[in-house]
C-alpha cells in the first residue's frame, strides 16, 4: 500500500491522526484490554484472554508503525511535539517487540506464581505507550509525560506480586528513586526553558546556535540536571544504586522488560534530545564520556562478585548501559547506527536470558545461584544451548549479534577520536568474561547436583518460542547483520543533529505557544 505521507502537516487534525496512528492504536488496545479485564477477571482463562488481546493490540500498532515506515512518513517543517522519522518507527518496533516477548513469557509465569491480576497487561500496554511517546518526543513536555506514563506503569508492575516482600521493596524503592529522578529531570527542563524560551528540541538547537548559549550557565545547569535524571533512568553509574535491588525483587518477566525496553526508551529519548537540542553544546560529550567509563568499569567489576544469577544479570545490564553510552558519546552517524543496532541485539539477548531465568526458578528466582545451573546441558541440552548463546552474545563473542554490535560501537568510537573510550570498552568486555563464562562452565562442565535438580525447569510452548526466536535472531544477526545495520543506519541518521554554530543561522523563532 503506497500513500504519499512525505509532508504531514501536524497542525492539521487529519495528518496528526495519521502521524500518531501507532500511539492511538496502542491506547485503544489498552482501553479494550481494560474493559475486557473489568468484565471477566476471575479464572486463568480470563488472564490468558487478556494476554491474547494485548498481543493483538501490539501487533496492530506494529502494523501501523510499519505502514508509516513503508511510506516514508515525514512531517513538513519543524515537527511540533512529536517526531515523524525512521528513528521513532524503529524504536517503536523495538518496544512493541519487547512487549510482545514479555507478554508471551508472562502467560506461564503469571499462572505459576498465581498472580491473578489481568491488569498486568493493561499496565504493560500503558508502559509501552509511554515508551513510544518518549522515542517520538520532539518536545520536553511530551518527553516528560511519556517518561512518567512509562515509569508509573512500571512501578506498579514491579510490585504486582503483593504477597512478596522483596517485590514490595523493589516497587517502593523504584518509585521513590524514580520520583527523585523525575524531579531532577523537571528542574533541568525548567532551566533549559528559562535559557532558551522553548521546549521544542529543534528550536532549542536553533536558540543555542543563534544566541550563542554554548557556555550559558543556566543552559549548562539544565543540561547537567537532565543528564542526572536520564542517568537514573538508564541506571548509569553513579546513579545505579536502585537497579540491582529493583531488578532482583521484581517478577522476572517484568525485570526483563525493565532491563530492556525501559532502558532502551530512556536511551532513545536521550539520544534524540542530545542530538537535536544540544548538538552544538560540546559540554555533554565529556559528561557522557565519564558516565560511560564509570558505568562500564563499576558495572562489570561488581557483577564479578555476584553469586545470584538474577543480580549478576542486573549488574550486567548496568554494564551494557555503559557500552550504549559509548555509542552516544561518539555522537556521529556511525555512532547512531551502532547505537540502534546494539539496542536491538541487547534487547534480544537480555529478554531471552531473563525468560530462561524465569523458567528455572519457582516461587522466587532470586535464589538461583550460578552453581544451581550445574549440569543443565545433560538434562536440558537445548535450554543450556540457548542460555550459552545469550551469555556469549552478552560477552560479545564472534558469531553473535552482541559481537557485531560491540564491533560497530568500537569502530564508531575510534572514528570519532575516542580511542581511549574504545580501549576501556574492550577491557571492560574482558572483565565481563569473568562472570559470563562461569555460567556456561557450570552448565556444561559440572555434574548435576541431584537427580531432579532441573526437573521443574519448564518454559512452556510460548516461552520456548520466545527463546527460540531471540536466539535465532542473535545468531542470524551475528552472521548476516547487513539488513538490520542498514535499517539502524537510516533510522539513526533520521535524527536531525543540530548544526554547529554558524553566523548564518536562521533567526530564532518564538516559542510555539506564541503563534
Amino acid at each position: 500500500m503506497n500513500v504519499d505521507l512525505s509532508a504531514l502537516d501536524l497542525s492539521r487534525s487529519g495528518d496528526l491522526l495519521v502521524a500518531l496512528a501507532p500511539e492511538l492504536l496502542l491506547t485503544l488496545a489498552a482501553l479494550v484490554v481494560l474493559l475486557v479485564v473489568a468484565w471477566r477477571h476471575r479464572t486463568p482463562q480470563d488472564l490468558r484472554r487478556a494476554g491474547w488481546v494485548t498481543l493483538a493490540g501490539l501487533g496492530v500498532a506494529a502494523l501501523a508503525t510499519w505502514f508509516l515506515w513503508w511510506n516514508v512518513a515525514r512531517a513538513s517543517g519543524i515537527a511540533a511535539m512529536i517526531a515523524v522519522d525512521d528513528f521513532r518507527f524503529v524504536a517503536d518496533w523495538l518496544f512493541l517487540g519487547t512487549a510482545a516477548l514479555t507478554v508471551l513469557v508472562s502467560f506461564r509465569y503469571l499462572e505459576r506464581e498465581e498472580l491473578w491480576a489481568p491488569e498486568y497487561y493493561v499496565l504493560l500496554l500503558f508502559a509501552t505507550l509511554g515508551m513510544t511517546l518518549m522515542a517520538g518526543a520532539e518536545d520536553l513536555m511530551v518527553l516528560f509525560l511519556g517518561l512518567e506514563l512509562m515509569s508509573v506503569s512500571v512501578y506498579v508492575l514491579a510490585g504486582i506480586n503483593r504477597r512478596s516482600a522483596p517485590a514490595a521493596e523493589a516497587a517502593l524503592k523504584y518509585f521513590l528513586l524514580g520520583a527523585f529522578a523525575s524531579g531532577f529531570l523537571l528542574y533541568g527542563i525548567a532551566l533549559v526553558y528559562g535559557a532558551t524560551a522553548t521546549t521544542n528540541f529543534t528550536l532549542i538547537g536553533v536558540q543555542v546556535a543563534t544566541l550563542g548559549l554554548q557556555h550559558d550557565t543556566m543552559l549548562l545547569l539544565g543540561l547537567g540536571l537532565l543528564l542526572v535524571g536520564f542517568g537514573f533512568k538508564v541506571a548509569a553509574v553513579p546513579f545505579h544504586m536502585w537497579a540491582p535491588d529493583v531488578y532482583d525483587g521484581s517478577p522476572t518477566p517484568v525485570t526483563g522488560y525493565m532491563a530492556t525496553a525501559v532502558k532502551a526508551a530512556a536511551f532513545a529519548a536521550l539520544f534524540r534530545l542530545l542530538g537535536e537540542a544540544f548538538g552544538a553544546v560540546p559540554a555533554w560529550r565529556e559528561i557522557v564520556w565519564w558516565l560511560a567509563v564509570a558505568t562500564m568499569v563499576v558495572g562489570n567489576l561488581i557483577a564479578l562478585a555476584q553469586r545470584s544469577f538474577k543480580r549478576m544479570l542486573a549488574y550486567s545490564s548496568i554494564a551494557h548501559a555503559g557500552y550504549l553510552l559509548v555509542a552516544v558519546a561518539a555522537g556521529t552517524a556511525a555512532g547512531s547506527a551502532a547505537f540502534v543496532f546494539y539496542l536491538v541485539a541487547y534487547t534480544l539477548m537480555t529478554v531471552a536470558a531473563f525468560a530462561l531465568l524465569a523458567a528455572k526458578g519457582t516461587g522466587g528466582e532470586r535464589d538461583v545461584a550460578i552453581d544451581d545451573l550445574a549440569g543443565l546441558a545433560q538434562r536440558r541440552p537445548w535450554l543450556a544451548f540457548a542460555l550459552a548463546v545469550c551469555m556469549l552474545s552478552l560477552l560479545g563473542f564472534p558469531g553473535t549479534a552482541g559481537f557485531i554490535g560491540k564491533w560497530y560501537i568500537l569502530v564508531a568510537a575510534v572514528a570519532a577520536g575516542q580511542g581511549l573510550l574504545a580501549a576501556i570498552l574492550v577491557l571492560a568486555s574482558v572483565i565481563s568474561a569473568g562472570y559470563y563464562l562461569p555460567v556456561i562452565m557450570a552448565m556444561y562442565m559440572k555434574p548435576e547436583p541431584g537427580e531432579q535438580a532441573h526437573a521443574g525447569m519448564q518454559l512452556g510452548p510460548l516461552g520456548n518460542a520466545v527463546v527460540a526466536v531471540s536466539v535465532a535472531g542473535l545468531l542470524f544477526f551475528g552472521v548476516r547483520p547487513n539488513r538490520l545495520l542498514e535499517i539502524a543506519r537510516t533510522s539513526g541518521a533520521s535524527v536531525r543533529v543540530a548544526p554547529a554554530v554558524s553566523s548564518s543561522a536562521p533567526p530564532a523563532a518564538r516559542d510555539a505557544s506564541g503563534r
Partner: protein, 173 residues
C-alpha cells in the same frame, strides 16, 4: 498602584505564613486546613497577575475538590491525631536549616536578576491576549491546539495511575 501593592503583600504574607503553619502543625487535619488557606491566598495572587480564570480554577479544583479529598483520606485512615514530628534529632534540624539557608541565599541573589531575554514578554501582552481571546480562550486555545498532545497524554497518565493504584491497593481483585 499602592493599593494593589498592599493587597499583594497581604496575600503573599498570608500564603507564606499559612504554608509555614501547614508544615509545622503536628495534626494532619490542621495541616490540611492551613493548606486550604495557602491555596486561597495563591488564588488571590493569580487575580493580581490578571489570570482570573486560573484563580477560579485554583479555588474550585485545589482549594475545593482536592482538599476535600485530602480531608476524607485523612479521616478514613484515622490520621487526625497528632503524630511524632518528621524532623528527627539535631542533625535533621541542622540539615533542614542549612538547605533553607541556601534557598534564602539564592533568593537574595535573584532579587535583582532580570529574566533572560527570550522569556520576557512585552508589557501588556497578557491583557491584549485576553482582550482578543477572552479569559477562558487564552487558556483553552493553547491547551487544545498547541499543547493538545501533552494534554491528552496527561489524561492517559492519570488513567494509568488510577489502574495502578487499584491494582496495588485493592483488597481482593
Amino acid at each position: 498602584m499602592p493599593g494593589t501593592l498592599v493587597i499583594f503583600w497581604g496575600f503573599a504574607g498570608l500564603a507564606l505564613a499559612s504554608a509555614l503553619l501547614c508544615i509545622t502543625r503536628r495534626s494532619a487535619v490542621a495541616s490540611a486546613l492551613w493548606l486550604v488557606v495557602t491555596l486561597f491566598a495563591l488564588a488571590a495572587l493569580f487575580v493580581l497577575l490578571d489570570a482570573q480564570f486560573i484563580a477560579v480554577l485554583q479555588v474550585l479544583v485545589y482549594a475545593g475538590a482536592i482538599m476535600v479529598l485530602f480531608l476524607f483520606v485523612i479521616m478514613l485512615l484515622n490520621l487526625g491525631r497528632p503524630g511524632p514530628s518528621d524532623v528527627k534529632g539535631p542533625l535533621g534540624v541542622g540539615t533542614a536549616c542549612l538547605l533553607g539557608g541556601v534557598l534564602l541565599f539564592q533568593l537574595w541573589i535573584l532579587r535583582k536578576a532580570v529574566p533572560s531575554a527570550p522569556i520576557q514578554l512585552p508589557p501588556g501582552s497578557m491583557a491584549r491576549l485576553q482582550q482578543e481571546q477572552g479569559l477562558v480562550g487564552a487558556i483553552a486555545r493553547p491547551l487544545f491546539d498547541t499543547y493538545l498532545i501533552p494534554f491528552e497524554i496527561t489524561s492517559l497518565l492519570l488513567l494509568a495511575a488510577i489502574v495502578g493504584a487499584v491494582v496495588l491497593a485493592k483488597r481482593k481483585l
